[in-house]
């Protein structure tokens, strides 16, 4: 009799504690497009991994919340955030004035820039060379490269592709003069296609990446900013760089191309 009563009480207490935990700290849903190594990618077993995933996990630990990674196409991330399907965007997203009109950004956590992956046979030497009739520029839909090309490179022919790999293929096959993307990806893609591409890694436009949040979500923004400051002070970014980007960091540093947390 007494044993049953004790067991019942324990069960109720556990349920209450679990409910309290659930109510108090719902999981943090983080949106990213898992096709951007080494920041957002999947390991051979299909689990999300990469710099942004580690960052998300660290934020989760800091806030005492579980982290759920939602794999969403890049140009669908902001709509997903706005409609409440995710709580934040950690997807190597550049904080631009246009985007800042509809969502909020945390303090920046990485500094990089737009660079060019040029076809080996193309005479292009700089971004300005692209703004000429007869030139073809490939961009990935929804990225800052896409924004830059459609507002600034008005004389060039614009190819808007879904996927980074398709855009690179356009350059490799000579269908496009250049692909506008961030300097790190340009470097990695050139390594994979050394004979058919030339990298112009010096950014012609500098950009910073930040965590995307809803405009009205001031609390979360403060928490994320606080986390980023602590994480940097703790050397967390240094560890991430060593784990995922050792070679690239060295390469870029040696050439004086900005790329750092």
């Amino acid at each position: 009799m007494r044993g049953l009563a004790v067991h019942t009480l324990v069960a109720i207490a556990a349920a209450l504690a679990w409910a309290a935990a659930a109510v108090a700290a719902p999981p943090l849903r983080v949106g990213m497009e898992l096709s951007y190594p080494p920041f957002e990618m999947t390991d051979p077993q299909g689990r999300p991994t990469g710099v942004s995933v580690r960052l998300a996990e660290a934020i989760g630990r800091h806030l005492g919340r579980d982290v759920v990674i939602e794999n969403i196409a890049f140009d669908g991330l902001i709509p997903a955030l706005k409609t409440g399907r995710i709580d934040c965007i950690i997807s190597s997203m550049t904080a631009t004035p246009e985007r800042s009109r509809t969502i909020a950004f945390s303090a920046p956590y990485l500094k990089t820039g737009l660079a060019l992956l040029v076809g080996a046979k193309s005479p292009v030497r700089s971004a300005a060379d692209l703004d000429v009739p007869g030139r073809t520029v490939a961009v990935k839909k929804g990225t800052t490269g896409h924004q830059y090309a459609s507002t600034t490179l008005t004389r060039a022919r614009l190819l808007v592709l879904d996927k980074e790999s398709a855009a690179v293929l356009e350059v490799v096959q000579g269908k496009a003069d250049a692909f506008i993307y961030d300097s790190l990806s340009v470097y990695q893609n050139h390594k994979r296609h050394p004979d058919t591409t030339r990298p112009l890694l010096q950014p012609f436009r500098e950009e910073t990446w930040a965590v995307g949040l809803r405009l009205q979500d001031a609390t979360l923004r403060q928490q994320v900013d606080a986390f980023l400051e602590a994480f940097r002070a703790d050397g967390g970014f240094g560890r991430l760089g060593d784990e995922f980007l050792a070679e690239e960091k060295a390469f870029f540093a040696a050439r004086g191309i900005p790329f750092y947390f």
Binding site: G84, E98, R101, A138, H146, A166
Partner: protein, 244 residues
Amino acid sequence: MSRWLAHCIVVLVFVALIAAALTRIDSPWNWQGVWAYRAKFLQGFGVTLAVSAAALVASTVIGGTAALMLGSRHVLVEAVARVYVELIRGTPLLVQLLIGFYVVASAVGIQNRYVVGVLLLALFSGAYMAEIFRGGLAAIPQTQRDAARAIGLTPWQSLRLVILPQAVRLVLPAVAGQFVSLVKDSSLLSVIAVSEFTLAAQEVNSFTYSTLESYLPLAAGYLAITLPLSALSRWLERRFRYET
């Protein structure tokens, strides 16, 4: 209640349900942002219209030819058509577009992505058309072919005067359905950077972050093409109907 009235009521109820769902979404409407890009929408609409029309014609020709080849007694001819139909119907259009444009067309040397896109779309739809036509041809009683032969028609005359007129009436609904599918499938050409209607809406969405305001006009635009197609098909069916 008249049929027209019933249709209107159902559409209104549907629109009301959508509107009710929309009012529950928090973010404010931004129609001005999207309106600023109306030229882009119109251009994309034009491309979709042109590409669909060209692919429609081409796929009918391809499908008709393949259907005749499927019925051929020459083993090699039938084999070519059968392999074509099974391959195309068994693989996704997306895969066909990517391999067709980035591998095959590049190897052959055709650079124009609009031409390649129309061709690939026509080949895709043609395989489904072939099966539709083949079913229509098979549904005609053998005695019709016998009667045509008995009065001394050549095989070509039989096809033209007896078999095809009957087969066309039989397959008209299915063909119209395939045409509508083709128009919608043309949106997939965006993966090879053809600037069609859907890509235009996606681009506007990525500039203005106004998803619904970008995609509702997109849906309306497609309906503007597909509804008349369906209506035309129904009119043709009524006009050429004969009892059997």
